[in-house]
Amino acid sequence: MLESISVPSPKPPTRQHRYLSPSIFWSIRQGFPQRLSWLLVALSLALPLTLWTIVSSLQLVPPTFLPTPLAVLSAGLTMFAENSLGEDVLASCGRVLAGFVLAAIIGVPVGLAIGTFYSMDSLFSPIVGTVRYMPITGFVPLIIIWVGLGEPSKILIITLGVVLYNIIMVADAVKFIPNEMINVAYTMGANRWDVLWKVIVPATFPSVLDTLRVNISGAWNFVVIAELLAAQNGLGFKIIQAQRFLQTDKVLFCIVLIGTIGLTIDYGLKWVSRRLTPWADQIRH
């Protein structure tokens, strides 16, 4: 079957070899010193803060638009002390949580169905693909009419904003399951239902966690729109309120607070993800 083989004349022994020069900073999937990592994290947070301090202290931008970090901090402390900002944090967290959980409960199963069954793909993809592009603000009047002005309407806005992204990203994740994994199950007597639950769900589990981690920040972006609707509290509420009276220090404090909450959620979810999928390739450290 193979052609007759003739070996080339010996190569000149001059072949230059290239080596991978060791590098700590540019290492790819090799160990990385924990200390250096912490240093870089600190740098990454300190740098923008320093820049902010310089720009605002030198008044390169009028303080009305960019107060100093200290001013922002003190505004924040005042808000906590006098304007019960704690309650706002709780209220917004509650809405985000409720809206996001709902978006996960709907989005993950629908996404799995679309990714798994071509029929569900044909059925849902066009509508998901269309509605995803539509600005949520356009639906606010309908939401007010149908759902009213209470908490449910705020939660619904957050859910609507996130659920379509959940669906499309989970559906994409299903594509990456190798055919063999599904075929093995068939040869052991699994039906499609079993394959869905015993293969597709666990196989996509890490991607689903990733998707949720990516999209929870969307939920926080939509909380501002949600709290335009007759809210009496919330971080988004406070931001809009402060904007109305040009209290940039308060606006910035609330934004930084949301960012901090986000960072906590991000690292928390990464940790949870590592915990829940001990079988997945641990690429780092």
Partner: protein, 271 residues
Amino acid sequence: MNSRTLQEQTSVRLLDRQAPKLSIEHLSKSYPVRGDRHLNVLQDINLEIFPREFICLVGASGCGKSTLLNIIAGLTPPSSGAVLIDGRSVTGKPGSDRGMVFQGYTLYPWLTVAQNIAFGLQFQQMSKSAQREKVGYFLNVVGLEKFANSYPKQLSGGMKQRVAIARALANEPAVLLMDEPFGALDAQTKEQMQEFLLELWSKTHVTVLMITHDVEEAIYLSQRVYVLSCRPGRVQSEILVDLPEHRELDIKLAPEFVAIKRQVLQLMRQE
């Protein structure tokens, strides 16, 4: 002479008056390739495997062995032809009657070794304790008790394949399809697995169709060896292995054995 045409073979079997467990009728498969052309991978394959037979399939790389096995398992639809189990068509219908060990590693990374072996058992009405017992037995069989709670990523290549074999066996299929199952095993484990497979086969009702590139292995294990020719894949010839049913490892050194081996190698080189 052990080699016969299919015609002869069929008539011999007809005399046996036994219905085939698995039969493949006029099976062809082609893949579309760039442009409007088609790559004929398999052409008019006909073969029958009788209950409790152990059959090996040999052939050059890329001649369509894996494709054939996938079609038999019901996982790939043939372009034409049929696959029958006990006379019933199962073309394109996978099921637990045809267990399969794939060429690549196909363990579920999120399950431990023990859970992987138990995977098929959950689809049977089997108690947890019965499952545990069965898993324990097969862990022992493949020598991986110590790794029961390891995840696949912590295993070597050969160890993974042993788990895959244990998983298929634990599920007690009527026909066991294996695609080069021992390809990744070391010589010693391989021989042990061969011995074990023979023993298992002789004590149970399992019918085996196995792909291998190891001619010695094919002869040692099987009653008949099919040789596939290449491009397109056809059944080139069939060799009857006239050796006693109960075989020891040292049979590989016996002159009858070496004669059959020479014959198979010759047939494979013919094309």
